[in-house]
Symmetry: D2
Subunit: 360 residues, 4 copies
């Protein structure tokens, strides 16, 4: 239940304020060059920093424990661990009996009968660092086949990008896609933060390059179903759309259909996925994040004894989880595509022939 | 890859114009009363009919082949089969070398190297009848524990419901939620159909009743991830949202958070899911359907030889797949909740004690 | 729980005296020629007949419902159904409240709280016909790559084959491997049957041909673990061994180790599996079957009310389940190898390169 | 592929001479008291020592990284890590291009194209320490419900126990079940070792206590299939048998069947499993280990260039892997039973009622 993927499988563990978090990546082919520096870079991208995300300095000193020999994957499972440092569990002691509104506190306590109040425990977004480790290895696999993923912030609150520039996003502290809108978006975040509040946002994720046609398996392991699965399962996500997405529900077929000529598609309303498989076009998706529920305004809630009470939070929380979320989503898309790429190797008998008769 | 669920598993088979479609439902507890009449009713609801859906009279004469003895589930897998009748494969012969725009034709051919042109083959929405069979059994399980699901049409094109009445939806030919808007919505569909075109729409799905807190497992089998998975994987769906959904991305935390008093939540912006688990509130979700790509207007496309060509469709196609889709989504939600209910039985040691020490 | 395999997955359904049994085969590559005559032949081999197996004439008129188009696999799941005929449920009415000794009756009733007394219900060996259907398709896939499986009876009771002749086994009514021993083995079976008793036996299974080195995945999906899984899970099997098997426990390393020269192994004590993977040598295994528990001698047992009682069976039962069992095991081995062959396609990056860069 | 179990899932990672080995245990119910001292004890039992096993002092200083809060399981995945110490990779440098006969070297190199020569890499029996960690937690769960497992050495070479005393085995350096035979068995091991050779052996494993009837799921997740799976997949195992096992193949039904009276079974030839489920009787199984292939006598083999060559091993190897193997098997049986116990919670609707209606 803490494992994702069918051929490339990632299992994660760890709580926000436990000893360590980490993951096992199973099913990666042998012979892939594993660039540790790249993992570090991707963790840095996720970490963000400055005034726009949590002040917690997460020690991203990850360590690869297994599955890599002389810098190449061996086919054995790759375990990666990140020790937790800079933990301030004390910040949470005043709320150890109180549920934060709109937070996993309520459901976890009711399900498991245990209140691990320290920083969200297993439900903390901290776990997504493990996803980024795994995702960065997935990216290395994809890039070997010239498939790439990138991402950025499409909207902060109601400040919606008019121009999309993925390269600008790489340099922006808030991963903004629209360079002209970025200053306003930053200001909105800072103002929200000053008001002890938080704000929602939208991330735009894209895969591009030599995407083969046909990634996606059967009817319950479709490419879009797996995107729906992983993206919707990420902390704070309340909606996911592919291609035209919500807007396609208002279209006529004649408006929405993508025509073809001898060179392929002439438009990409379908967002790169048809019949649950990659069409070869860019894969475009948007992920909608709610504002982080952890705000510093006094709120009305229940305690674990069922009584109404007020809550006043301490701790360090992102004013806008969409920012870090966009990087995580980009890595999740890479994980999905890598899994599908591996599964696709037995789609037709012709592929098997290429492998098994190649010695002769 | 054609199997969904972890404890309650459904595997489907069959093509639109093959001999039969069907499913195996595995993992259902023994001792559940199986009401065949109810399965029939749910298949009827999905079938829709009249002027608003396909004219194909799908024979919903399903047959339960196994797993039920004297009307009760035995714990063995339940196989259900629906033979295909009223097949008009001839309608498809003129397009057997041509890809329908924005259709699975293109991806299936490229992946598998085979063109099963008859009515969409495996990619046809026909398969969703098997999902409804399985879902109706899931509903029986849920209803035993007083958990219910219902659904309706929230929007056809840009005609968006202002009032939500799930009971009205049960009587409406187009499953409309808004009785006052229904005539306009019907007219829009008919006009679109007359113009040889199709139209998108939005389905609203809800679970209600005695929903236990805590349904949803781990970080990769969350309740919302499974909803994202199954809904996004359904034919024609391009966006899924839970609770406030896309709108939550524009909110402040102080606006979006749901407060509590001693009686529980005072609002439900979270749509019944927090931290990937049911909160006990109603589960609310919207599913956005694109217009069916099969329209009767001449369109520009490719054939299997890579040449540009025009396509003129025959056959029978729903002008608005959202209508039947809403019923399917309702059943998918039931499947997810039933799976989670069964998985939840080992969430805490206290549950096991109730079962294993009960004899003493 | 009624599904086996990771990439090539088989899910079965059906009870001995229900309407039908069958299976879904998921994950088969597209483009494999499906020879229905071959499925029929393999079902015939399993059925056996004459005086040496059950007198029930199982109608092996199977039907392929999906996944095959113009005689080739399409990549969609293949559903196969076999309707149950020649059912004599009346034979079981006198024991509907009584547990047959050493039979699944006891455990099924206690687990599920339901007594489906008709011919063993789900626990009947009848289900293995579905395994043979799936296995015969697995054999077609393997044979495409020049990998073959065969089998035979190594022992009936304590009559143990001294000479192994798989070709003779193909012509023997009891699948005997030793032509000289066959008459005695037959006589032992008939005499046992005359005494209203049953007898145990041992099946020998072998895979040969161009077996690639390296089939078997990770540490929990090893080739031998999967053999242990499927063989031990077959009705009536109480022991499984690979290569020297039980005898290897009495050897020194210097006796048991298989040396190599430049041409490969000079012996095969390891039975074709090292480190959980195929070594390229023949895969040799033995499966030990207990005598069928359904005998016609009066036996002492319990009824469902916990009272001691006697039981006198009617019905039709194999005097020696090893005979039909050998054919089933042969098909199970094929299923395992086919699954491993498909999984192996993503073992190293070099394989992926062969597939994905082949267009350039 | 490095994951076992359906509800209680264990995923392992790590190589013999890598930085660490470990596992993630997912699906354990919340609220179980986790006794770290017990894990240590079980690791000590596996380690063995003295003259009868490897001289490598494996540092069993395991660490629990997650999933436990204030000594109780939280429902989150439990990660356990064991750092590798006392590594002497140099011992392996002289064989880095040479395959050890009857060893996984050959198959791993051929599958993955990489030779991780250090101490067997992923194929090393070292990984079984992770299984013991997981198994000891499974034992804690089982013992909460008064189900227990124990084990011992049934045979070393052809020295076969005549008397079975599981308590003696707990005190014996070689886990011998027969106190009178122990001195001879020890002598045989030491002599074999002196001759630079190794020896096979047989482990006997038993589960006892309040075993519920009905553990085991469906037809492909039977209790015996899972035993066959895990035991046969353990390093060096070449045969597995349950109850009478191989001997049952020589019996008549009238000899092999276990009768019942009003108190239950009057014998246990079936070894506690009928129809793939626990019968409530003790579960008895034997696991046959080959002699460790790593011997110090000069042997003829191939190198990675396909040339014939001789090999002379250094390093530290158990003269008889059955000894440590018996402890590992005991833990594997605990893992299987715990998984089945959790799965069984949704076997019948009556169980669910106990959980869900308990609040009223």
């Amino acid at each position: 239940m803490n494992t994702f993927g069918h051929k490339l499988r990632i299992s994660t563990f760890g709580e926000s304020h436990g000893k360590a978090i980490g993951c096992i990546i199973d099913g990666l082919p042998a012979g892939l060059y594993i660039d540790e520096g790249r993992i570090f870079q991707e963790l840095q991208r996720r970490q963000g920093g400055g005034h726009f995300s949590t002040q917690r300095k997460e020690s991203e000193n990850f360590e690869i424990l297994s599955g890599v020999f002389q810098s190449y994957s061996t086919g054995a499972p790759i375990a990666i661990i990140i020790y937790n440092k800079d933990i301030k569990s004390k910040d949470y002691e005043n709320i150890k009996d109180i549920f934060r509104p709109s937070h996993a506190d309520w459901t976890y306590f009711n399900k498991y009968g245990i209140r691990d109040y320290r920083g969200g425990g297993r439900s903390s977004a901290r776990e997504s660092a493990a996803r980024v480790c795994a995702g960065s290895i997935a990216k290395m696999l994809l890039e070997h086949f010239e498939i790439f993923t990138h991402s950025g912030i499409f909207a902060i609150g109601n400040l919606i990008a008019q121009n999309i520039d993925f390269n600008f996003a790489k340099t922006s502290e808030i991963h903004a896609l629209d360079s002209q809108l970025e200053p306003q978006q930053k200001e909105l975040i800072l103002e929200t933060k000053k008001n002890l509040d938080s704000i929602g946002g939208i991330a735009l994720i894209q895969a591009y390059g030599k995407i083969p046609v046909g990634l996606g398996e059967g009817l319950y392991h479709k490419l879009d179903s797996q995107i729906g699965n992983l993206m919707m399962g990420l902390n704070g996500v309340k909606a996911v759309e592919i291609g035209l997405g919500t807007k396609s529900s208002q279209k006529k077929g004649s408006q929405n259909n993508d025509m073809m000529n001898q060179n392929g598609f002439t438009s990409n309303n379908h967002g790169g996925i048809l019949g649950g498989m990659s069409s070869g076009e860019n894969i475009d998706l948007k992920v909608y994040f709610k504002p982080t529920p952890s705000i510093f305004i006094t709120q009305q809630t229940q305690n674990i004894y069922g009584q109404q009470t007020n809550i006043n939070l301490k701790g360090r929380h992102d004013p806008c989880i969409a920012i870090r979320g966009s990087i995580v989503c980009e890595h999740l898309l890479a994980l999905i595509l890598a899994d599908m790429l591996l599964l696709n190797t037995s789609a037709k008998i012709e592929y098997l022939e290429k492998i098994y008769f190649s010695k002769n």
